[in-house]
Amino acid sequence: MSTENAPQSMYRSREGLGVWEHRGKVAAVGIGHGPTSRRWDGKPDTSLGAISLIALRRAIEDAGVDPGDIDGLVMDEKTTTGAFWPRGQELPWDVINAYNTTDAPLDGITQLSAEWILKNMPELTGNRFTMYGPGCMSNAIVVAAQAIGDGLAHTCLVLKAWHNLPGRYYQTGANADDAIPGTAALRSVWGAPACYGTAIQFAEYCRKYGKNHDMMAPFISNSRRNGLRFPEGYWAQHRPEEITTEDYKAARWIAKPANLFDNDIPIMCSAAYLFTTAERARHMKQKPVYILGHASSRGQARSFIPTLDEVEAECAESGRKLLEAAGITVDDVSFENLYDGFPQFHQFHMEGIRYRGIQPGEALDFYQTDISITGPNPVSPSGGNIGSGRSRFWMHTDCIQQIQRRAGERQVTGVEPVIGVSGGPMPTGGNFTCWSASPDY
């Protein structure tokens, strides 16, 4: 039986849907991360599948749950945006055959199916539900939350993993072919880097509001500082390097006005969470973190790159939808962990939800104030992708850990960690979640 993508009916992508019908009835309890590395070294025990099994088992152990009691698995089958197995390169059969296989030889190496996971986790004897939340953890989370609320599962693992291969990112797959199919060809033919679209929007933002690129420096420094306090992150584990204002301003342009540090680093990593019903969560090992609501953005741009107007309108709508679903106002939000990969759209997400009351065009001024984890207005306490490498999940782990008060050196101290918001990825296409210390806030 193959696993399907979640149907659109599981997403809350319209305004006016009211408070989420399962508000406070679903909780995150367990967290597990696999080892993080820059690129795969070709060994079976460091493969995408291997680190994901580690992450899943750690989440189960963290929650203190019998694996046989788990009846759901929600994940993303795709594990890269730019590291594809080079055509013609011999398959790593020693690694493939080190695990139970599926019909796809590279399953567990450059892709990851629910079937592969279940074949290699025989302890999941009670699983009866699998589904994909494609794109990133943000998607998988809202699908898992909805699935539990709807009764499709009562104890569900949520998984997102990323692989990275030797060589340069974005140089394989379709980019290595003589011809690129579809509309992607129109951008690829000009060699635009991945951050190009965001850089264009950011440039327009700076023109519209009279801001400049250097004003991003406090955000970047803060993000990396927070990331260095994330023991599971790439930079904390492998290269504990701060990014100072001087470093940031001196970096070379990738797509002006986006420089090197306005981009994240592709890595291998995997994270898993254990979600369950509020009732079951009370009897588990960790403090439950309740989901008050979720919302999704499905914006359609008029052209290849969304305009600033489109981005701002969509982010504002996403913010309204999330607050509506959660039944709260933005004044109730203790901290925000909205997506930062690319950091030049973090302010769109923040302004969209009106975090701390900031309006469009005000975020970069806000960055010049105290946005640290010790202040009253923590911004991206996870450090996000800039702080720990490209995962699209640090923000969610951090929300759960902050509310559980298990964020260690990253623990926010300037606010009570009662309600956090996280989600992404793109301003015009993403999924967002509101987390709470209480089911009936």
């Binding site: 820059r38 390097e241 100072t244 970096a251 070379r252």
Partner: protein, 115 residues
């Protein structure tokens, strides 16, 4: 005077990925009176920290696109940049008026003879 600029990742043993050039190699050319430093995509503060960790006093630490600034700031007879990338090391180095060497070429050269 000879100036040598080192890329880090893929070039020096400290790099990510590690390169073939050892820190002892850098110490050796520095000891011969050459001007040495790094030109890398690593944060400048991280470059400085790396050299400090290895007890090597360098003359410059700059971002990848700043070789022209290095040339303007230091007077030398020959300027070398050693790196592992065609697009990010070789081409910019040559454009900035540097001689370019791949890491393995650098180790093969008789630096002690003043080349």
């Amino acid at each position: 005077m000879i100036l040598i600029s080192f890329d880090i990742d893929g070039t020096l043993e400290e790099g990510d990925p590690p390169g073939v050039l050892t820190m002892d190699f850098v110490r050796e050319v520095k000891g011969q009176g050459y001007l040495v430093g790094s030109c890398s995509d690593r944060p400048i503060s991280a470059q400085r920290a790396m050299w400090e960790r290895h007890g090597i006093e360098v003359d410059f630490t700059v971002s990848k696109h700043m070789l022209e600034d290095v040339k303007a700031d230091f007077e030398a007879e020959v300027y070398y940049h050693i790196g592992d990338r065609e697009d990010l090391d070789k081409r910019p180095a040559e454009k900035a008026g540097f001689e370019f060497l791949w890491p393995h070429e650098a180790t093969d050269r008789p630096w002690s003879e003043g080349t």
